[in-house]
């Protein structure tokens, strides 16, 4: 009403009404602005939670520094290797001294320990415990060493096998490309390689027929369902009928072949013999 005070001083009614309207409008605008301001500001606690949740998802599990392994107690077991590592770090010198047989061990280690006895007695138990711990550490060390050695040997074997496999694959790459080109399955490829190995084993020719630029011999082979030869033909000869006959005989003598897989039944093969 105080705001409206100056309006009463005016004698002109129109001016009064105009002034009142403008004041009202100003008030309305202020109120509307304020309400907008309140509604658009972020409700802080809710957004931060969302962001923290996203961060927690993105980041790895945080290391909680409260969760260190407990110091070794009488009740520790060999499986708790982290505890052993801690113990190794903590007790090297003392246990070494004990191991070297210094006469620090109070009392006879083999004597029965009477817990209720006087003050020096607990030392024996402690020394015994240290001795046991040392032995267990030794065992653990040797166990880990042998494990490491086994792992290394296994790795070496795997590496050698991998190299051999790569070499074998490189050597057979041509056949493999062909086999793949004709759309043959994995089992069929394995059969083809085994067939080739058998024939290769029996491939033997007289030294007399060894020549630098000799033409190769091609033989068409058709196997029956049991692996026996159904058809065998000389497709291309070397020019020496004796050599062709020797190679044909060697293929016939390589029988019996293993039975071909289903998709290779009735599949003709061409064997190309290079001298």
């Amino acid at each position: 009403m105080a705001l409206l005070a100056p309006t009463f001083l005016c004698e002109d009614r129109l001016l009064t009404r105009f002034m009142g309207l403008s004041v009202m409008l100003h008030v309305i605008v202020v109120v509307v602005d304020w309400s907008f301001m309140i509604s658009s500001s972020p409700s802080r606690p809710q957004e931060l939670e969302v962001i923290e949740a996203e961060l927690a998802e993105a980041l790895p599990v945080a290391v909680e520094f409260n969760k260190l392994p407990p110091p070794p107690t009488h009740a520790f077991t060999l499986e708790d290797s982290s505890a052993v590592e801690q113990a190794e770090v903590a007790l090297p010198r003392k246990t070494a001294e004990v191991a070297m047989g210094k006469e620090d061990v109070k009392g006879d280690p083999n004597a029965s320990v009477d817990v209720q006895a006087s003050v020096p007695q607990p030392d024996v138990a402690a020394e015994e415990y240290k001795q046991q711990l040392f032995e267990r550490l030794q065992q653990e060390q040797t166990r880990k060493e042998t494990q490491k050695r086994r792992i290394n040997a296994r790795k070496k074997k795997q590496e050698a096998a991998r190299q051999a496999k790569i070499a074998g694959l490189l050597q057979r790459s041509q056949d493999q490309v062909q086999a793949n080109a004709t759309g043959v399955s994995k089992a069929a490829t394995a059969y083809i390689f085994s067939l080739k190995a058998i024939i290769q084993k029996h491939y033997e020719i007289p030294d007399l027929y060894r020549q630098q630029n000799q033409k190769f011999v091609e033989i068409k082979l058709l196997l029956g369902h049991d692996g026996r030869i159904r058809e065998i033909d000389l497709v291309r000869g070397s020019g020496k009928s004796a050599l062709d006959e020797i190679i044909l005989n060697s293929v016939e003598q390589s029988q019996p072949f293993p039975a071909p897989p289903r998709e290779l039944r009735g599949q003709p093969f061409i064997l190309r013999f290079q001298p």
């Binding site: 491939y203 020549q211 006959e245 599949q267 064997l271 001298p275």
Partner: protein, 472 residues
Amino acid sequence: MSIRRGFGLSALVFLWVSGTQGGAAAPIVLNIDHPQFRQMTVAIPEVAVQYPGSIPDWGLDASPLLEGYLNLSGYFRVLDRQGYQGLWPEKSFAWGSPLAKTAQKMDRSTWKQLGAEALLLVKAAPRGRAVSLELTLTEIRGQDGRTLAKEYRVASRAQLQQTLKKFVDEVLRRLSGKPGIYGTKIVFVGKKTARAHKAIYMCDVDGSNVEQLTQTRAIHLSPSWHPEGKAVLFTSYERGNPDLYQMTLPGRRKSIVSAEKGLNSGGAFSPDGKTIVFSGSSGGGNTDIYLKTDPLKGRKRFIYGTGLDVNPVFSPNGKWLAFVSGRYGNPHIFRAELEWNRDRQSFRVVKDIRLTYAGWYNASPAWSPDSDRIAFAGFDRAVGRFDLFTMKADGTQMERLTLRHGDNESPSWSPNGQLLVFSSNRVADTNRKGPFQIYIMRRDGSHETKLDVGMYSADSPKWSPVLDWVSS
């Protein structure tokens, strides 16, 4: 309607039937290479004669002589006569006799069952005072029928031997496509007695017909052949200095190639016969490799450096030069790549690579005739002996040829690449050492046979190329 159905049905049946034929699938190609190599089995029955006593006794030796020559070639394994004892007459039989009928009954399938791949039949008949020989080689396998049939007339045992050697060469050429070995000779350094001077000798591949080439009483060393067998290079001390000489063959005219003061040794011809490379001393105790194209002009140094460079040999294809160098300490075998100018008149060394890394002392490289492999002698410290090895021309795939049979040195290949001649100081079959002698073995190291050349000691053998002047 029923006709259509019938058509459809028959079409289906046709497709099904053709499908089971398996002809629709494209054939899969399998490459099979790297065969195993073996000897060819040959059967050589006894000589067949017209009637017993018709030919002199030396004529009946044709079969055992052929057996020996075929065995030496390294390609054949002669079938033991025991294998066909009951089927083929043991003694020489007469044509037309019941024994001959038995022999004729042996057809190809019987021989195949016995394991023979080839059959060599000898028929002998008197021809005046000489003997007419009919030799027939038949390959049991194949449809070629008779592979080779030849008729000869021989008047003496020596002529019989020469004729049979010529025939075996013909057999080898026909079957392998490569030249035989009986048209070649072996040249070596020999000492007739313990106190004699070392001289250059030449003999046949079976150790017969030994001839002395150098007559001067001085030390002679390291012979080597002209690529066409027209001359032999060697080093001689007859002028008080190790000079390089050349002797033409068969004329036996001797001339000096290089007589520089100091060493002129280990000479070798280039494959075109125009250049001679040798090891020469360069002063200060160093030895380098020199070449000479004109005997009247001076020598040209072309492989040199720290350490000794000796024993140069051209590869038969002219691309490389193998030599022994001590530039890295112990002697090892190196290979120099040669670049010939456009008209193949001269060449230069582009680079050289080291071939042998294993071993402590590797020497005397020898190229195989197809320039594929190099044979050399390497000292094996584990055994304490020199042994023979072969490797590929790039130094890989090293194979050992001798073991625990004394020192084995100076290998040399036969022109067909099947045999190697070398010198060894083994005593019989042991590892003990005695004077050096000449041996022949097959390219895989098997069948080491001593050549009986009648010397106190013989070494540095070199196998000649096929010679057109060998009397045959």
